[in-house]
Structure formats: C-alpha cells, structure tokens
Symmetry: C2
Subunit: 563 residues, 2 copies
C-alpha cells in the first residue's frame, strides 16, 4: 500500500529528481477515460449497426472510422517515440512487472499473423478492384502500418512510467487502447456474421439468417452479384483471411492489456524493493518438471486437434453425422475439463501446504490479470447457465442432453477452480521466499512477531553463538538442506500442473477460435430459446470465453516461470 514514494528510488541509473507531484491524478485519468468511452461507444454503435441487415449503416462507414482511428493512433505513437527519444528524462522509472517477455513475444507472433492476414485481405479486395470503394483496400494497408508501429512501440515502451505531458499521454494511450478494442469488436462481429452465414447456408432456413453478410461474400455464394469471387486465388485469399482472424483478435487484446498497464503507470513513482526481483533462473527453465504434465498435456492437445478436425469435417459434410460428431466433441471436452478441474484442485491443495508469503505489493499488471480472468470467465459462465436451464427445463432425455449438461457443469467448475489456482499462484512470493517450515520456537533476539509479513522485512537472523554446537553448519544452511527436496518436490508439481493446464487451454482456445460451434449444431438450446436469442447470447459471450483461454495461457506461463 505504502510502497510508492515511501522508499528510495529504484536501483539502476541514478534517478533524476522527480517532477512536482501531480495535484490530482484521478482528474487526469477522468479526462482520458471520458474520451475513450465516447470514441468507443461511437465505434460500437457503427459496428453493431453495420452488422444488421435492415440498418442503413454500410461497412464502408465502419472501415472509414477504423482507418481514421488507426492513422491518428499511429501518428500519436510516432510523436510519443520521438519525444521520449529526445528527452530521456521523461521516463524516470520502469515497471518491472509490465510487459513481460511472454506477453511481448505473443504480441510479436500475433502481429506477424495479422500482417499476413492484411496481405490476404488486400489481395482479396484487389480481386474485384473495379467495383469496390477505395477504403476497403486502404483499410488493410493502414492496418499493417498501424500493427508495425504499435508492436515496435509496445516492445520498446511497455515498461515506461512516463512523467511528461501526463494528460496528453493518458489521452493518447486511451485513444490507442480504444482503437484496438474497436478493431477487436469489428473482427468479432465480422466472424459472427461469417458463422451465421455458414449456419444459414447449411440449414437453408431463410428466417435464421438474421445477421447480414458483406455484399461480396454473399455474392460469392449466390453468384448473381456484379462482383463474384470465383477465381481460385480470390477464394484462397478469402479462406485464408478468415482463418487468420483469431490471431488478429488476440493481437488487439494483447495490445489493449499492455496499453492499459502503461496508462495506469503514467505518472507513477516507484520504490526500490518493488516486487523483489521475481526474475526466473534461466538455466533450469525447462528442467524442473516431472514431465508428466507436459506429456499428458501434449497428448490431450494432439487428440483434441484430431477431434476438432473430425468434428469440423463431419458437421460441415452432408449426411446425418452431426450427432456422432457432437458425441465425440462433448466426450473429449468432458474428459479434458474433468482432468483440468482435478489438476487445478490439486494445485490449490499443494498451496495449502506451501508456506511462501503472499505478495501484497501493488502491481497494476497483476490486478489487471486477475480482473480479466474473472471478467472474461463470465462469458463462458453465462453460456453454461443458459445451457443448463435449457437442458433441465427442456428435459431432453437422450445421450446428447446428458453430455451437454455434464459439459456445461464441468465448464463452470473448471473455470472456477482454474481461476482460483492461477490467482493464488500470481499472489505468491518468489520461491526463495519461504519462511522456516517449523514455527521458530526460539525467536531471534527474543522478538515475537505479530504476523509473518513482519518476519520477511527483517534481515536474516545471524546464527546464535553457542558454547557446545554439534552442527558445524549454521542453522540456516541446515534448514536449507532439509527443506530443499520438499520445496523442490512441490515446485516441480506446480510446474507440471501449470504446463498441463497451459496445453489444455491452448487446445480449448483452438476449437472455438477456429470455428467449432457445437452451440448451434446441438439443437437443444436453439429449440428452447429460439435462434435469435440464442445467437445473441452466444455471439456476445463466446468472444469473452475465447479471450479467457488465451489470457489463461499467458497467465499460466507466468505461473510456470515464477513457481
């Protein structure tokens, strides 16, 4: 709580004298949040309006808005980079927790996939250049520029605690964050439209096609449009860019979380003891496991991939194999979710015997991680509760109904226990931080400690001199020798658990992100709620569920490295 300002400046280069403290930080934040909220709502209105058939908002309007926003954000980023390069005093502190290497690495990876997607999109829209408005070709090109500029910016500046032009920087960061969220929304809506289209064409029921389709995409299937996408190259481009959408979605969300942490760090003053290092020992990075977790996880990953491909082939193919595909899909998911629940519970049990102190330090990155894990899980929770009500009230007495119910219940349990495990892990101190395993019967220098935290803040007790000492080593060393195997054993288990959960989350991300929608193949909910309501529920909640998986992966990677 009082870690800011209380202690001296951070180690490293000698900190310059701090700028005069801001009179009212919340006022500056208020301004930028108001800007962000208004821009985001405008974008939200246009994007959601553009998705509906009957509404006279065209997708060119949406593209024009997004392109303008990306241009403005890129210009601001260039201005920021120029300013901080010319005036290094503007960034007196760097937050060691912000922008860890796995987040920045993921950002670069997803950024590269987004660039490939932009190439595909440009190619697709260039295929019928003559009957397109220019903005549709301009949009992916500007997006590519924006992605390159932003990725470089976040790679370089994610840890900055900037102390110059506070209000302008806050507004700029919030505007860039808003741009990323708007891109995310547009991508999610476009994907939902695409899904509704493929569902509508497979069920060929006109009343179900509630979401509109782009004129070009509709043209490709109907054929009567002036701009058909019938060349092989155009088809490849079209297929390609839809398969790359999930990466674009994740890129926007990763960038948003990093920008939010930067925004929280504007004008922050850091102290020295901040987070006690927390740097992993790189030598033993991939050794300290029992190999059971990664091997089991990899097996599930491979099996899951096979199940996903079989499911997609059977559902999209002709013939009544949907039932069979659903049974396969649900069975795999139930096994996978059950194992994950048990393993997460096991991890929590291990923590009950773990004596590492809780880390109470302020850490915007971790606070955001926890909030996102809890918030994003709401999406999957909501879908599961709607499924449960449909199955329990609708009473389908067949195998599929039972599997669906078990699947929904296990999803809730798995999200809950995994969140508990991850959040508890993130709040543990580093491994070397364990207090003595047995309560000290003879407190150092006769002090008694009211709580365990106070113990840590003191320097280690010097060995008490004794007249007759049978042990040549100091008590601390002896304790370390005794404790090492047990601590090691627990740490290995935790590393196994986090790797296993990580791999399972990846496969559970792949399935919905690349188009598995058992929610619609399964007729229970569609019949119970009607297509319109159920599509609204799934299309609003599922993007959060997909984001949850990827965010859990990045958090589990952090847990793996830190435990």
């Amino acid at each position: 709580m009082s870690e800011e300002l209380a202690q001296g400046p951070k180690e490293g280069p000698p900190a310059p004298q701090p700028a005069p403290r801001e009179v009212w930080k919340k006022g500056g934040r208020l301004l930028s949040v108001l800007l962000a909220v208004n821009v985001l709502l405008l974008a939200c209105t246009l994007i959601s309006g553009g998705a509906f058939n009957k509404v006279a908002v065209y997708d060119t309007d949406v593209f024009a808005l997004l392109t303008t926003m990306m241009l403005a954000a890129a210009l601001w980023i260039l201005f920021y980079l120029l300013r901080t390069a010319r005036c290094p005093d503007a960034v007196p502190y760097r937050d060691t927790h912000a922008g860890p290497i796995w987040l920045r690495g993921g950002l670069v990876l997803f950024g590269i996939c987004t660039l490939v997607m932009d190439v595909f999109k440009t190619g697709y829209y260039s295929s019928f250049f003559e009957c397109q408005s220019a903005i549709k070709i301009l949009h992916p090109i500007i997006q590519a520029v924006f992605v390159i500029v932003q990725t470089y910016f976040l790679w370089v500046s994610a840890k900055d605690c900037i102390h110059a032009h506070l209000d302008l920087t806050r507004c700029g960061l919030m505007f860039t964050l808003t741009t990323n969220l708007a891109i995310w929304m547009a991508a999610v809506v476009d994907e939902s439209v695409h899904q509704a289209h493929s569902y509508g064409s497979s069920h060929s029921n006109a009343s179900h096609g509630r979401l509109t389709l782009d004129p070009e995409r509709a043209g490709s299937s109907v054929g009567g449009e002036p701009c058909p996408c019938d060349t092989a190259v155009c088809q490849i481009f079209q297929q390609g860019y839809f398969y790359l959408y999930p990466f674009n979605i994740e890129y926007s969300l990763f960038a948003s979380t990093m920008l939010y942490v930067m925004w929280k760090n504007v004008g922050r003053l850091l102290a020295s003891s901040h987070g006690h290092g927390h740097t992993p020992t790189r030598v033993s990075l991939f050794r300290e496991t029992f190999f059971a977790g990664p091997i089991l996880g990899l097996m599930l990953f491979v099996v899951g991939l096979a199940v996903f491909i079989i499911y997609e082939v059977q559902v999209s193919g002709e013939g009544g194999q949907t039932q069979q595909a659903l049974v396969l899909y649900y069975s795999f998911n139930i096994v996978c979710l059950g194992l994950m629940t048990v393993v997460s519970l096991g991890g929590s049990v291990i923590y009950r015997f773990d004596r590492r102190a809780m880390d109470h330090h302020k850490n915007p990155t971790r606070t955001l991680d926890v909030a996102l894990l809890m918030g994003a899980a709401l999406g999957q929770y909501a879908i599961s509760y709607y499924s449960i009500v449909a199955v329990v009230v609708g009473l389908p007495r067949d195998l599929l109904g039972g599997l669906n119910l078990a699947h929904a219940l296990l999803l809730i349990a798995q999200h809950t226990f995994q969140n508990v495990f991850i959040i508890e892990s993130l709040h543990r101190g580093p491994p070397g931080d364990e207090p003595q395993a047995t309560p000290p019967k003879e407190p150092c220098h006769g002090l008694t400690f009211a709580n365990l935290d106070a113990l840590h803040s003191l320097p280690a007790c010097p060995p008490t001199p004794r007249l007759v000492d049978p042990h040549p080593a100091s008590p601390q060393e002896a304790m370390a020798i005794i404790l090492a195997p047990r601590g090691h054993w627990r740490r290995r288990c935790l590393k196994d658990i986090s790797l296993f959960l990580l791999l399972c989350n990846v496969i559970l991300w792949v399935m919905p992100a690349f188009g598995a929608r058992p929610h619609f193949s399964n007729t229970v909910e569609v019949d119970f709620y009607g297509y319109a309501l159920w599509a609204a529920i799934v299309n609003i909640c599922l993007p959060f569920g997909i984001f949850y998986r990827m965010h859990a992966v990045s958090s589990l990677l952090e847990v793996y490295v830190l435990s």
Copy 2:
C-alpha cells in the same frame, strides 16, 4: 495510501486490540465474488428466459427462486444481527463515510414505498386466488419481511467494519447484494414487458409484441382467460403496483451500494485522521445559498411535471397528438439539459479558482460513487449514440429529427460535465481546509514545502512574535477575516449549483421512471433499427440511465452538504 494501519486507532471508545491480520484478503474476497457471480448468473438466466414468450421458463420459477433467495438472505441478516449484538468486539471500527444519512433516509423512504407496493401486489394476486399458484402470493409477503429486516440491518450496521468470521460475512453480504440485484433485474424486466405490452396494444401490430406478458395481465386485456382482473379493486391494485415499481427498483439499488461498501469494509483497519471529520455544520444547512439555484430548480421541476403529464395524456390518448407531445417533451428537455450543462461547467470553472486541497484518502464509498456515476452514464451514452447515428445516417429532415439530435447531443454533454463537476466536488477537502490564498512569502520556521499536502499535515504555525506588531490579531485570524467573504461567495455558488442540478435530476428521473418512452413514440430509431433491436437497446440501457439520475441526486446532496 498508507492511511490504514499507519496511525493509531480511531477516536471514540478505546479500540480493542485488533484481531490477527488476515493473511490474504483477496482470497476471501475471491470466494464471495465467485459465489455471487454464480448465483447472479443463474438468476439472470431464469429471469431473462422467463421474459420471452417462446421459452418454457415460467414466472413461477422466477418467483420461487427470488423467494428462496430473500428468505436465505433474511436469515443470514438475522444471524449477523444476533452475533454482533452478543459480541460487540466483532466491530472494532466504524467507517464514517459509509451509509451517510441521506442514503439511509432514502433507503427508508423507498423501503416504505416498496412495502406499499407489496400490499398492492398481494391484493392483486389475491383477487384471483383460486387459479394462482401459491408462490405468487407468498412472494410479496416474503419480500415485505425481507425489506423490513434489511432496512433495519442497513440502518444499524451500514458503517460496520466487521472483524469476525470474515469469509462467512463476506459471502453473506455478497449473497444479500446478489439478492437485491436479482430483485432489481426482475423488476426491470417486468417493467419492460409492461411497456412493450402498452406499446404493442397502442400499435396493435402482432409482430412487435416480442416480450411475453404474464398470463393474468394478458388476460385482463384479452378477456378470454380463466382469471380476469375485471373488478375495480383488482384494477386499482394492478395500476398501483406498477406506479410503485420505480421505488422498489431504487430501493434495491440503494441497498446494493450500501452492501457493497460494507463488503469492502470487512476486515478493514481504520486510522484516526480518516477524512478529517467532514461533518457539515448543521446550523447553516439550509441558509448558505443565493436562493437562485433552488428557485430556478423548483420552477423547472414544476414545469417538467406539467410537461410530463401533458405528454403522457397526449401519447396515450387517441388521435394524432403524439407529434405535438414529442415536440413539447424534447423542447423542455433541451432547455433543461442545456441549463444543466452550463451550470455544471460554471461549477467546474469555480473549482479552477478554488484552492482547497484535494482529498487523497482512501474511501471505498467515494470510489464506488465515482465508478457508479461513470458506469451508469454509459447507459444513456449508448442510447444517445444510437439515436445520433440513426438521425445522421437516416436523415429525417423535419423538426422532430433536429430536436432528437439536439436532445441526444445535449444528453452526452450534460452527463459528461455533470460527472466532472460531481467527481471533482467529492474529491475536495472540507471547506475549512483552504491553504492561504497567497503563497506564503515568509514560510513558518524557514521551511519550504515541496507540495501543498505537506503543509496540511503540519500543525498550524504559531504566530511569529514581532517587536512592533500593528495588528493585535494573529496572522491566521486576519487571513480568515480577509478570506471569509470570498470563500463564502464561492461556497454559496457551489451550493446553489448543486441544489439546482439536484432538482433537475429529480425531474429527469421522474419522467423515464414513471413511464415516458419517447424512444418508442418517436419513429426515427424504430424505423432505422427495427423494433426488436431498438427495444433491446433501450430496455437494457435505460435502467442504467434511470439509476444514474437517482445516484446523481444522492451524490449532489452530498456535494451540497460538504461544499
């Protein structure tokens, strides 16, 4: 930041020795939040499912769930009251900011209206006792018991910082909070159904009646049902309880905010200098204004009430007077919102010349207030942006389109500037807290202060003895004499502004809360988005807009008292 724990215990009765500090506060909170989220989602699923025609969830299911929840919450409250009565040590501190008198007064007022509503509801359902399930009559009775128990509980315990059975208390508070939110959701959904019904019957278009109606209510208009509500008493009961719904809604929300603050205060340790008193001087409570604000506000209130009644009569009556009613309604709103915007801006300008220090102390009540003001404004923002897009893209070139656009734009401006004004007011220190108007040229004891906050933490400078002193009074008193009129003038202005805004917010609460829906009388948005989409937008967002008004009223009352 470091206010907790750092200083000694609060003044008042000698504090008992604090219980051992909780090892990990967030862990306990996590548990209760998980419970609340799951219960709330289940309730949300059933309530929203019950609102749709085609879905086989009956309102008896919803009533049963709510009744069970209210019973459980009431039992927990009784358990809590019993425990704290028997063991006063459990509440070592009380948060002076929590549960201010206007919030508790409002709660009692709305609670009484809710009890009247419960009487009406019981009477209504008893009118056709023979063809009802018992739960429908049981529900309002249990609700009355719950309201009485909860109101007493919040009146007595709203300020408690409890330090016993932490996890159980957190879960209990969260469960009670969830119960209130579920009641709120059920009331909002029921109101929306009622609105859709009256809209459907006035437009007599079958395709528009998307939300279902209670069988009894439908029965009253159709007449072919076995349970008609055709006696005069039954009709009065039915009308009455719908007019009392807004109070029930506000009751649930008031109780929720107070329960949330109690939840945040569980296990909290308080320091002495917390919030420097902030108690208003009760003598001059209703004197220090120029009377311009209250008089203008009262005039607007009365005019607004007249406009509202004319609007309701003209819209619900037969004949083409809807156009005329809408012009009147929009004109009044534009004038009112314009004045409010200007006045809020004026208040913010006054603060630019105000030298009172910002209050940086931790204060869960205020943090929640700010979050709710910003969050609830989103509802009205969203509706406004959808209106703007509809008018700008749909291009209706008539008077009503222009009025609608101006109204939407002014709503955004008014919410923004009012929020800025209120949030800035809430963060100001108390009136006596002004530093010297001119920067001290001769600092006390030769100290120089880096920031103004440090100045406050020091004891007041003793008067420096001088050999030849022309003024008999101490420098401080002289300063007070010089400053008083100017400070007084500003304070009076702020009090006028807050009273004016308060009265305007009350009338802007009355209109939508008691059924004015220009969103549907006006055809621009309905034609542009289609009835289904527009009804979804309005029915989801408007409850937040209505809540915003009442919450702004309570915040402005606080601003009035504190400035």
